[in-house]
Subunit: 334 residues, 4 copies
């Protein structure tokens, strides 16, 4: 940590900052410049809040040097993490190709959807039983019934199930019916929920919050890992910007940055990330080219009849085309 003193901060202010630094068990290294004194702080800066220093008299600015995350970082673990689901490992070498409808609607729809995903080349099946909807008067998901239908889809196709859990109290129940927990964008910072899934050994797909910084995103993965569950898959799903032609702004830049900073796999959700069916394929391919370890895509047997997210959902034909192109891209870039 580096503490920058105000121009002409008197000596006693510098000294009281130095004192405060030693109070918390760190060492101070003042450097007296032409215009400002700066104080280098040696010690584990993850342990202290920079606000503590920022509020001292004479302090102009406090700058962190270290990222606050540990377990998620490449410094902690050099090799890329692969995620084991059933008997299969997924990651850079065997990409996550997750697809399925936004919501579980009924038995016929969900089994047809799972079969379509399998036939198109997907290797994991998603579907929502608990749906966080912005409108309280809209369909909120089938709940427990939905979980049971997902189970049937798994039996019919063998595809492992990815489904959202929305509250700590539901974790135990949902775990029985899924292979991967999904934490949705609105719950990225629901720390109780993160801790609850962190106490299981089931893999967790963690979606980036709509306005999460890189650090906030990785700290949420850190919450899960700190409880003992190291099977975390990160997912970029679009951020909120001023842009008006996509529902969110899919931020692919985070993909290569995360590959550098963290050993965790990261996948891309071009469906929610754009909200536009007509560019899902282009942006999914771009995600792979940027280095993502997989894609999660909304597909539906009859996209235009989907009860939610109809406008960003692919047909099986379109999804099969996308998978084919992903495979070509992988060979080209190998």
């Amino acid at each position: 940590m580096v503490i920058v003193m105000e121009r002409n901060a008197p000596q006693d202010q510098v000294e009281s900052v130095v004192e405060r630094i030693s109070e918390i068990g760190a060492k101070a290294h003042p450097v007296i410049g032409e215009e400002r004194t700066i104080i280098g702080v040696i010690g584990d800066e993850r342990k202290f809040d920079e606000g503590m220093f920022r509020s001292l008299p004479g302090v102009e600015n406090v700058m962190r040097i270290l990222q606050p995350f540990k377990l998620v970082s490449r410094e902690f673990k050099k090799e890329a993490t692969t995620i084991k689901i059933g008997d299969v490992s997924y990651g850079a070498e065997n990409k996550f190709l997750i697809a399925g409808p936004c919501s579980v609607e009924n038995e016929e729809q969900i089994i047809q959807a799972a079969e379509g995903v399998k036939a198109s080349g997907g290797n994991l099946f998603r579907g929502g039983a608990y749906k966080p909807r912005t409108n309280p008067y809209h369909f909120q998901g089938l709940g427990f019934e939905g979980l049971k239908l997902l189970q049937k889809a798994k039996q019919a196709t063998g595809l492992p199930i990815v489904t959202e859990v929305v509250e700590a109290g539901d974790v135990e129940l949902v775990e029985e019916y899924c292979d991967v927990f999904q934490i949705g964008t609105r719950n990225m910072q629901n720390y109780r929920l993160l801790k609850a899934v962190g106490k299981t050994q089931t893999p967790v797909l963690l979606k980036r919050g709509m306005s999460a910084t890189l650090q906030e995103f990785l700290m949420c993965a850190e919450y899960i890992m700190a409880e003992g569950n190291h099977q975390v898959i990160l997912c970029e799903r679009g951020i909120r910007t001023f842009v008006e032609y996509t529902r969110n702004t899919l931020d692919l830049n985070i993909v290569p940055v995360i590959k550098k900073l963290s050993h965790l796999p990261i996948i891309v959700d071009p469906s929610h990330g754009t909200g536009r069916r007509d560019i899902v394929t282009a942006m999914g391919l771009a995600g792979i080219a940027a280095g993502a370890d997989g894609l999660i895509v909304e597909v539906h047997p009859h996209p235009e009849k989907s009860v939610s997210d109809a406008d960003q959902t692919l047909s099986f034909e379109a999804y099969a085309q996308l998978v084919k192109k992903v495979r070509k891209l992988e060979s080209a870039l190998a």
Copy 2:
């Protein structure tokens, strides 16, 4: 709702949209323009998802006409809502002057803080027992112990208590110890939690999510009201933008807009909204001038020793000054 067809969309595409509209019980009014056909949809558009139409062939765009909220709207209730806490009503005529430390730390601190708030002119006391922190290794609040200390602060001063609840499962317990539930920015869209507080009759202070649109914000209030609890206080606390000189961008523009669209009271949090102690007073006053029904401000007996948010916390002296200026402003603008 208005559906805009693509240029030269063939007649059968127009017809199949019209058909879909009647299937859901609404009426279609096509208007044939020089370049495009547009279809006015008459019916309760709150009941249907626009994505449903956006995915039909030939549809270029779907525009909603109505805001999706009902109970929170001025159309539903003309008079401004006041909130009864104990025997006192708060709102435009008697502003919410909520203050207190970020976290409950210990008995001495919290009682001193409550006494300081009262002496400075505050009328409600806040303090966090459950703290959602971005860093899993930082102090997470005293939990249940914190609630009991808040109770003592209330006994000592008579100030009603505002405190955060972070999970549906905690609502019953927290309700025993507080007069107003606070829903934090990260939980604005935790719909389970919204429903749980909606089932009580205790007032709810709902903080805007960091990247919430007006509609998302008001729909969260609608979630609470739809369960039967109409005692909702909205709170602007800063949004996430590109700006680098404040921790968040306090968006006062929403204040007069909400006063127009909704009957609910709205207050402003200049502490989190800016993250800078040196501009809290200026922005608090600006909030009142913009028409807010009150302020929520972080104060601490020893700001520089606060375990969290030290850099945005006012001293009692500074808070007393702020309250005095708020009162002057109120008279000037009356």
Copy 3:
């Protein structure tokens, strides 16, 4: 400047950074920490580009300590700057109350507008002769004819004229007809234009760019001052964010921050800043409460007939009310 080396950066990388630092005439102070070496750089960091260091092997991050601006800063000049226009000084003590129509349309309109502004309590008159429009097929302003009509409005009322200049080549001509140059938001970083007005002694109203950071904004004022013209008025006019209920997000937070960092006056434009007539008054008052040195507001004899910006324009009655409230606020906060 502080240079942060990568974890375990070998000694020779540290040394070659130190060497590079002395090559450019600065001094290096390495501080060896537990996890990282950081290097304090003593010297005038305004002279060197941080990218130069960021690209050296082993460098993880480079952090500036000093703001890059000089002439605009409070450190350079302690007392608040007042701007002399004609015989009158404007600033904190005598606020800028600039008003007028978006565009000069014709003689009758512009003289009526100036008379209305004067009668309502405004002290400076604005009107656009050169209009940068997003649509090439829309009205682009009367140009030179407009300047002459502004002159007539000045003769009729005695109000000094504020008008936009859009190109370096026009500066000489526009200067003859105006008392204050306005640099619009789209031209904030038109450095040729900034240098050209910087070579005159006519005051400059510099509008913040739609996505300008504080530093970029102040550096543009620095461009003008560096050429010799120290008469600069800053203007917050709304930034671009995800927010959908206002055309721009008026960012009042910058007002008290700038008052602290710079001696230059700053005013607020609630008309462009919100794009909504119904909240212009509330946000104008909020601007004054936040500490602004004045307001610039769009008014028109017949707002609904204005050829541009009709939806954010006040009538004379509304403007007179606003001025009256500004005066009350000033007394209350004095």
Copy 4:
């Protein structure tokens, strides 16, 4: 255009809107709904400002149906535009591979750079003679001398020259020394400059403004085309968001959207778009996968000695690798 009236707007307000619509030569089609009356407006809505209607009594909202651009749209011209530079046509089939240093520094550097670009597989050479810098005290480019050195680089390699023009008054001079004008992000809405390059027949590379919407971006291309120059290349170069790990947020989503809406070619600038050399290659490839017609990349014989933008500049080796991968990607996706 659709005009939405307020709930219970009285009949005479509806009528006066209808009247206003016919005054401007359009036709009104009122649709009376359960809660609101909406009025469809038939006529060329490009000709009128929506603010005009928004300010009428009883009007709640005005929604445009048509995009305001004409010449740039796919509706106007179905086939993708190719750009002829010298004897070669560039576009989807023959991608723009533009590379070169940020600034022209001296003869040796610029010739070495051009030779390196050619050897690496680039087909157009860029270099800045006029540099808009945020800091008035930093290097501002060699100006006219720089143009002459670019000419030498062309003679040495045969690569056509892309260089920035910053003011209308410079267009004639710069045109003599370049094959493609570059309009920088800060000048995207410098309409005088757009008109000036629009009057030539030299191709124009138009960079997106840092916070430009799709519509604003395309309207700037429309400005150029409206003057007669139809040789416009669009360029995505990153937008301003809250994101902190990249200098800008490269927004690849705009690429497939523009390919749909416009016939103009669009290329991607991963250097400025990210500001990080370590992810330029990944994001350049992602741009191609998203459907871009080419890349513009900063390269330098000695990246770490570059006088500007050192931290986002590739070496020749890295650039040659990128070009090789682009070619593989093109085959894979063909």
